[in-house]
């Protein structure tokens, strides 16, 4: 799961925006037009094997690029995806828009995942067997995890979460 949630927004001190954001976070609602943009973003990510550009998604949905950017900002606020400070896609969870230490092969394609949880998530989202490469963060030994029918081939490995769940979205990049 990257940058503080408010890092790219110039309206952090707008009280109405703060209230709207709290409401969105509580009910996790996404408007239908934003949902279309969200679904197209995910679909294009899978098809392209990389993060789509705003132009890719605008052409897919048939809307202006500004409309896509507006939807992405609202989806970011609703934790439905994560934008970087540049306003481009950073995480379309479980997919990562930028290279990471989690390279996932699934269904004959490859993507980067944001973390170990997301590395498992790509195969789960695609409903296919998968495998990924990463490193033990302690000893730096290479780890290659193969997942067949939802089960990893080496059950000895362990997953460590440093940050409590209530704080995951305080800084999703660090999480």
């Amino acid at each position: 799961m990257s940058g503080p949630q408010t890092s790219r927004h110039a309206h952090a001190h707008d009280p109405d925006r703060t209230i709207r954001k709290r409401l969105v976070c509580r009910i996790a609602a996404v408007e239908p037009d934003d949902l279309k943009v969200r679904n197209a973003t995910y679909r294009r990510f899978v098809e392209l094997g990389r993060a789509p550009t705003v132009a890719d998604v605008a052409a897919t949905v048939g809307v202006a690029e500004d409309a896509v950017r507006g939807s992405w900002a609202r989806l970011h606020d609703a934790h439905a995806l994560v934008l970087g400070d540049d306003g481009d896609l950073r995480m379309v969870n479980p997919f990562a828009a930028r290279p990471t230490d989690f390279r996932v092969d699934a269904g004959g394609r490859s993507w980067y995942a944001n973390c170990a949880w997301d590395a498992f998530g790509i195969g789960a989202a695609l409903h296919v067997d998968s495998e990924f490469e990463t490193h033990c963060r302690d000893c730096d030994d290479a780890l290659r995890v193969r997942i067949r029918d939802g089960r990893p081939d080496d059950p000895r490995l362990v997953f460590h979460v440093l940050v409590p769940a209530a704080q995951w979205w305080n800084d999703i990049g660090s999480t």
Binding site: M1, R26, I27, A28, A29, V30, L35, R38, N39, Y42, R43, V46, A78, H79, A80, N93, P94, C115, A116, W117, D118, F120, G121, I122, A124, A125, L126, H127, T134, C136, R137, D138, C139, D141, L143, V145, I147, G150, R151, P152, D154, P155, R156, L157, V158, F159, H160, V161, L162, V163, P164, A165, A166, W168, T175
Partner: protein, 69 residues
């Protein structure tokens, strides 16, 4: 959210810092399946906090550390 060879490797990496939560990779696989399985569905809707909490609870990931808020 990282992988380690064993709990001993986690503790060595932490070097005295407070531990978070450590779960077997098999549990992580179950968690990922429950959390991400619908992400590419055409009729996807955002999970509510309650839905996500239920996923954690059903997998035995309970207690203050695993409370979403």
């Amino acid at each position: 959210m990282l992988l380690f060879r064993s709990e001993g490797h986690v503790d060595r990496w932490l070097a005295g810092r407070e531990r978070g939560a450590v779960i077997p990779i098999t549990k992580l696989a179950e968690l990922a399946a429950a959390w991400w399985h619908d992400r590419l569905s055409a009729d996807w809707q955002p999970h509510t906090r309650e839905q996500n909490q239920a996923i954690l609870d059903d997998l035995g990931l309970t207690g203050p550390f695993w409370r979403l808020g």
